[in-house]
């Protein structure tokens, strides 16, 4: 029997008349890393807030750990670890004190909390900043501290809302590494992101959200196989030549996508497509061949890109 930690059916969130989450269904299994991929305003955070029971459900049904978020919020939250989209560390407290007080909010004893703080600071690579104030920490450090804080109660389910948005590549990779470790140790993770590489790297299964709805669902590989041919050729042209080239693309690849700055050709065989380009006298300034990604899946499904 597979264990579902979260089950949602027709889950809906409205703000007045505006529908932020539009009757979505999903199950999150114990031990998996589940992703919500979608652009700004897709409804990811609204969904997370309903799962964490801080936002009342407008319509539909959901259970978390088999409990009802409307009436058993405290019990649910006592087993969650939450990393919000915006850091909300307590600036009046030091690094270690931020962890300590969350342990207390979870009714842990001081003797339980203190050894855990040591472990978590080590995990977050913040041991040296233990007694530092929070304000001067870098963005990556604050994020790691927020993750450590979410782990203080040894949660059964960890919810991360855009864990790496706004971080530089180095800080992102360090964070991914920490999340991998959690995964390896059997944690159940929910991750929202608008970075397809993040979803590809971290998620076992994901849903693609757009305008409050789920538009596709599966493992990263499945989604790419299903919605996008294997390879993508990106063409960039000199000033004014793109439109002319766009007229000559008929039948050259499985599918083409004409963007503001470039043309994307989706194909199962990049070599043949490139040959055809040459034969038709299309000479781009720059040609880049790459494997297709979830970004391409998203483009196919919605006609828009994930990050504007």
């Amino acid at each position: 029997m597979s264990e579902n930690l979260v089950e949602a059916r027709g889950l809906t969130k409205k703000f007045d008349d505006f529908v932020a989450v539009d009757a979505i269904d999903f199950d999150i299994k114990k031990g998996e890393a589940f992703g919500f991929l979608g652009p700004n305003g897709a409804g990811k955070t609204s969904t997370m807030k309903m799962i964490t029971t801080v936002s009342p459900i407008t319509d539909g049904k959901m259970t978390v750990f088999g409990l009802d978020p409307n009436t058993q919020g405290r019990a649910i939250r006592s087993r969650l670890g939450v990393v919000p989209q915006e850091d909300n560390l307590d600036l009046e407290l030091t690094v270690a004190e931020n962890l300590f007080i969350y342990g207390r909010y979870h009714d842990m004893k001081k003797s339980e909390i203190n050894p855990r703080i040591d472990d978590l600071l080590d995990f977050a690579q913040l041991s040296e900043r233990r007694d530092s104030r929070v304000e001067p920490l870098s963005g990556g450090m604050k994020r790691r501290l927020t993750i450590a804080r979410a782990l203080i109660n040894d949660p059964d389910l960890i919810i991360l809302d855009e864990p790496t948005t706004g971080l530089d590549p180095q800080a992102r990779h360090l964070l991914w590494d920490r999340l991998y470790r959690l995964k390896r140790d059997g944690a159940t993770l929910i991750i929202t992101t608008h970075y397809m590489d993040e979803a590809e790297q971290l998620c076992d299964r994901l849903v693609v959200m757009d305008e409050g709805r789920i538009v596709a669902e599966g493992s990263p590989r499945q989604l790419i196989d299903e919605y996008a041919p294997r390879e993508v050729i990106e063409l960039r042209f000199q000033e004014g030549e793109k439109d002319g080239a766009a007229l000559k693309l008929e039948g050259i690849a499985n599918r083409s996508e004409i963007l503001a700055d470039r043309i994307l050709l989706y194909t199962d065989d990049a070599d043949t497509t490139q040959e055809r380009l040459h034969n038709r006298g299309i000479h781009p300034e720059q040609v880049l061949v790459r494997r297709s990604t979830l970004e391409d899946v998203f483009l196919k499904l919605t006609g828009r890109r994930l990050i504007d």
Binding site: G66, I101, E112
Partner: protein, 269 residues
């Protein structure tokens, strides 16, 4: 199918119904480093007492206290300083400080992802303002006592009375904060507390005013607080003190109820 919770380190059974005291714990940790702020809260009314009570008192001599008996000016003005400082302390704590945490740091949004809930925060923060108040009023009464400004052992009842003043203003302050949009709105706070401070029978008996103005001044919650404290420190107690107590109690309870409701709506969208 949903299933039973997996085994865990912190037992789920430990979900207590009341945990406002966690907010005190947090504030206590933070204030350990902010002891200067704590001290200023004590010295401000003491400085006023020296300047106005003793300085001005030397010029004024005795004034009619509650019931009409003449008392030294310092003994008259000291309980009013104490009431005003209870008001100011509670108002500053529940308006400026809470607003900052609510709007800019979003601290409470994080707190609410733990088993804490909005009522814990409302009760915890108002309670914290009171706790600080108790500390200050105790110190202040001791100073008054040492300087011979108290007339009765009843003076020590001024401590719970000042706490009641703090509760009334803290609860209303917190409720008001949930309506604040920007820092500009805080000018209103000063606009309300300043005249209360000046015209609540703080520096002179209300009967210097014509009867109409006297009645207006009696709406002032600080007037009720001042009368209550003055009665205790001067040892002049009558039934009107029940009325003052009732006024402040109702004000505090209404404020706390509104604060709790509003906070819930703001934080759980």
């Amino acid at each position: 199918m949903s299933v039973e919770a997996p085994s865990r380190l912190t037992p789920i059974g430990r979900v207590t119904p009341f945990r406002a005291q966690r907010i005190w714990e947090k504030n206590f940790i933070a204030y350990r480093r902010l002891w200067k702020v704590v001290f200023s809260g004590f010295f401000e009314p003491v400085f006023y007492l020296f300047a106005v009570g003793i300085g001005v008192g030397a010029l004024v001599g005795d004034v009619p206290g509650p019931g009409g008996a003449l008392v030294p000016y310092a003994a008259f003005v000291a309980p009013a300083m104490m009431a005003a400082s209870a008001m100011n302390g509670a108002v500053i704590e529940t308006t400026f400080n809470i607003f900052f945490k609510l709007k800019f740091q979003k601290v409470y949004e994080g707190v609410l992802t733990t088993p804490m809930q909005p009522s814990d925060i409302a009760i915890g923060e108002i309670g914290w303002a009171l706790l600080r108040g108790v500390l200050y009023s105790t110190a202040f009464v001791v100073v008054m006592f040492a300087m011979g400004m108290t007339r009765s052992w009843l003076a020590f009842l001024a401590i719970p009375a000042a706490t009641l003043v703090g509760f009334a203003f803290g609860a209303v302050g917190m409720a008001a904060t949930t309506y604040m949009r920007s820092w500009q709105d805080f000018d209103l706070v000063t606009l309300v507390t300043m005249p209360l401070f000046l015209f609540s029978g703080t520096f002179y008996p209300l009967d210097v005013y014509p009867p109409f103005i006297q009645n207006v001044a009696k709406i002032s919650p600080l007037y009720h607080g001042t009368e209550l404290l003055r009665g205790f420190t001067l040892g002049i107690v009558d039934w009107s003190m029940l009325g003052h107590t009732g006024f402040l109690l109702v004000m505090g309870l209404v404020g706390a109820a509104v604060a709790n409701r509003r906070l819930d709506g703001m934080l759980r969208k």
